[in-house]
Amino acid sequence: MNRKLKDAMDRSLSGIDFDARLSDGVMRRVETAEGEAGIMKRKIAVSLAAAIVLVLILAAGAVAAVYLGGTMGVVWFGNPVRWAEEEPIPTSAQTQEMTSEDWKLVEGLFSGKPKDEIWDIDYDSGNGVMQGVGETDVGLNDLKKRIREAGLPLLVPDPPAGFAFKSSRLSFFIDEQALGNVTYLGTETPYEGMTLRRIRTGEDIKRNIDSFNIRFEDANGNQISVTAQFNNTQGTHGFGAREDDIYEPVSVPGMEKALYIKRTGIDEALYLIQTGFEPIQYVGANDIDADYRWGDNSQIYDAVLYDINSETAQKDVLLSVANNLK
């Protein structure tokens, strides 16, 4: 993630500008205040309330945040929750200033990454970023074939009525078999305070689909996004929501849980969790080094989390996609 984030946001927000209407509004208040300032200079007293406001404004930079109390969300059964504010993790590591210049360096590095390598960049402060092996625009039939041949429990949707396949993106995990063709290339220090770990993978990693994202599109450009991601049931599963959002648990065949959320003015989403398959053992790229042996710090996938969402399609369409996962 880098300047792409800012650029993408600016493109989406390009219709928003600080126009003459807004600047005129400010100047009207300034002119009014100029008139009042003349009066104030002739007056002697300042009200207590105004003094408090003035102090608060001047001290704005020093005031610590006071939150309402936690982050709003909703869990699988549709119960709203407010998670407690997390305490920042104390660290004794020397803080390295992360600047946008640092991310420009990272972006520059990643532009030269070979497609078969995983690059893991860590800063001394503990911050880090990883870019793995991916694949795009794999067709639905090809995707289903690869999942079937690999014996993976991932379920693939068909496009709902009126929609067609538009694009796909895949990512991959390292299992014991793929580990046999993984080569740890060592670490480098491309810049001060930055460590780059390089791992070369074999072509067989593409058998282990870790996640996919598929986009369907209709003739009017409306899109439905379907993401499937291997997961772990021990993790906290809840979803961000505001108090005025609509959320309800629903039933989808083959899924342990399903939750529908309508985020007013944003989108409608359907979250599903699939379990009941043989757990899959894998190793995270950040655990691999020259001495790594299979079994050390290996982790387990025992669930698949599906996210079906659209800014335009409604609940019934999303449910039709969910009910046709196979």
Partner: protein, 172 residues
Amino acid sequence: MPSVEVPHRAGAGDIERMMSLHGRALLRMCYVYLRDMALAEDAVQDTFFKAYLHFGSFHGLSSEKTWLTQIAINTCRSILRKPWWKHVDRSRDLENMPMPSSDTAPEDGEVLRAVMNLAEKYRSAVLLYYYQELTTEEIAKILGIAPSTVLVRLKRAREKLKSQLEGWYFDE
């Protein structure tokens, strides 16, 4: 009764210059932060008016952009803390937002949506770091937290965004 010295205020030219240079970015930042266009417009206008009132408190220890961003973020936070907040129609008017330019890709909306869906503490960190391109030290001062906490929040925000922006986070 004692006399009160009126704080040094900016001139009209100063405010117009600041609005010209920083108005667009601050308005967009406030919109993403508050997720409401009307409130964002109020917040950014309040920001410049406060800057006019307290120009004398800006001692040049930070950049003008950082100073204005600090005022804007605190103004937004004040809005979110108002007790009437819960009762105001805060529906995000993405549909009513002025249409973006024609070179917008569908993924851009995905990015914006993902950022707006972040919890406030992560959203503010992402906006200040990636959108306003401030340093972690500057962000720490604005938010009143330690620089290490800024790093933690950015890391967690990236993890949350990564899961939603997988297709754009990793290159093929």
